[in-house]
Amino acid sequence: MHIRVIDIAKDFGRTGALRGVSLDVRDGELLALLGPSGSGKTTLLRVIAGLEAPSTGQVFFGEEDATTVPVQKRRIGFVFQNYALFKHMTVRDNIAYGLRVRRRSEQPSTSEIIKRADDLLDLVQLSDIGSRYPRQLSGGQQQRVALARALAVEPRVLLLDEPFGALDARVRKDLRRWLRDLHDRTGHTTVFVTHDQEEALELADRVAILNAGKIEQIGSPDDIYDHPASAFVMSFVGDTSSIPIQSDGIGLLHDGQPFEAICHGSCRGSGKLFVRPHDVTIAEASPGRLPGTVVNVHRTARGHRAQILVGNAGVIIEATVDMAKPQVIGERVGLQIQNARVFGD
């Protein structure tokens, strides 16, 4: 199901408001809404679901204007952040709920309902726990039950709010892959909200970056990471250092200090220069290289990082460290910068 969101605004008078958001979700794609908390990503998801009514704007499901269609009639599957499983029902009853509340005329027979619930339990690989209660399940299992429950109503679109937010890192990673695999098998148009960039980049076909109630950029994970459209996207997705710069028409200046850098496009203009740690090479101090002092070296999951203090304004740049040439704290170095971008203030 192709979903179009057209110029949606939602005024809360607090965080989470939307200020004119338009978005196309293609049929069968897995789209991530990524943004910091308060950026409006959950609000947007709830507007698509029909759990919030927008102040202005429209939501189309295919050719149908769904803006005023009540949530019960939208045929969506929604997975809540804390799963919202019905505590007093068994797993099987939870999954069957959406079928049992249907009007008599549209309701499948009792045996069909049970069969469908069991099929879904198979699909989410929980065949043997149908008669347990939610509290007897682990977080990851609850998550999968919530997903099976949402799928039971044969939704036109699957909406997931921070689907892995409440799980520990290990389970999160497994479930992520599992969800991608499930999506590829069932082909549901899926939108999920996350604040975790890694999750968005790894899982989604396309990522929409939200900030302060607006969409900053929509694109494939490669687009978002390699061709960020704004300073916000560049600094929100992936690790980034930024340096205030001036341009004197000949080269770049930071704090009055001229230096050279290789940029996407051109390095002209003033504002801030953004660069990722793996595009900063630590070398010996020499003219043209941005001079600085190593103030800290630390270990990350992906290798070593050094923090280099440049100029007099307290600006810190992060660089990956080649452990064949370990850095000494206090050492004066020169930085070679490539793949940088300049965004105005």
Partner: protein, 289 residues
């Protein structure tokens, strides 16, 4: 390797008092409990049975006594369901919606707790009495409010109003809206979601509220006393009847009736305890501590 030997007995936990302090505190609590709670209950039953079981049972053969029991059951039977409805509606509104004047509403719900029951009764006399605001109108239309069942029910509903709502508001606030939203996304209508999701989530709290509400509805004296008019065999509830019998020096009958009310309280307590034992885990999960 030499195992290090403990040089002294393991220290008691830091929060434990000395033996003397413990004995003192516990016996003080027990003494207080015995004097103020257990002794009166025992006295009620001893006095009621002083002249033997036969006399005790005979007191319930009195038509006035039977009428009082019937009236009390009827009043509770009407007021408790009404307050379950009001309590559910009020706590639903307060817990699930944001609106102006919400804190005022919460304060108003607590009003019957802070107001003297006699005053609550008086309010209804002033409103519906012969010289009251609406009294003449009702009288002209052939309806007796004060000194009749409607007045007693009104006073009881007022006094017992907070019990269900106060039990449910914190519970519903803590549970939030997500379960209901989940039901809606799965296609359930509002009423269906309420019956299949909200109600099971609050059932233990609701039951608590109903038990407390019922105990108070049957036992209410002050407010009912003002509006009832004490017409024997007609508008006397059990607590009022106890007073009348006592004032007539008919102690056995008075205590017999009192023992029935006490028994009711004990049954309520037992039901509550049983619920806690049987469904303790479920209660802990669904009610506030």
């Amino acid at each position: 390797m030499v195992e290090p030997k403990p040089r002294h007995a393991p220290l008691p936990p830091v929060t434990t008092e000395s033996v003397t302090a413990r004995i003192l505190l516990i016996s003080a609590a027990l003494l207080f409990l015995g004097l103020f709670l257990i002794l009166p209950v025992v006295v009620v039953f001893v006095e009621a049975l002083r002249k033997g079981l036969l006399v005790y049972l005979q007191t319930f053969g009195d038509p006035d006594a039977q009428s009082a029991i019937r009236l009390t059951l009827m009043v509770a039977g009407i007021s408790v369901p009404l307050n379950v409805l009001f309590g559910l509606a009020a706590s639903w509104a307060i817990a699930k919606f944001e609106f102006r004047g919400k804190s005022l509403l919460i304060t108003l719900i607590d009003l019957p707790f802070s107001i003297s029951p006699v005053v609550s009764g008086l309010i209804y006399v002033l409103l519906f009495g012969a010289a009251g605001t609406f009294g003449p109108w009702f009288k002209a239309h052939g309806m007796q409010i004060i000194f009749a069942l409607p007045g007693i029910v009104l006073a009881t509903v007022f006094v017992t109003f907070p019990f269900v709502a106060r039990e449910l508001i914190p519970l519903m606030e803590e549970q939030g809206n997500t379960d209901e939203e989940a039901a809606l996304t799965l296609g359930a209508g509002g009423l269906r979601a309420f019956l299949t999701v909200t109600l099971p989530n609050i059932r233990w709290g609701l039951l608590y509220g109903v038990l407390l509400c019922n105990a108070r509805a049957m036992g209410e004296f002050g407010a009912v006393s003002v509006v009832s008019g004490h017409i024997r065999g007609l508008t006397d509830t059990m607590p009022l009847h106890v007073e009348i019998l006592y004032n007539e020096y008919n102690f056995t009958a008075a205590f017999a009736m009192a023992s029935l009310l006490t028994l009711l309280a004990l049954i309520t307590l037992a039901a509550k305890t049983l619920l806690e034992l049987r469904y303790g885990e479920a209660l802990a999960r669904t009610t506030r501590v």
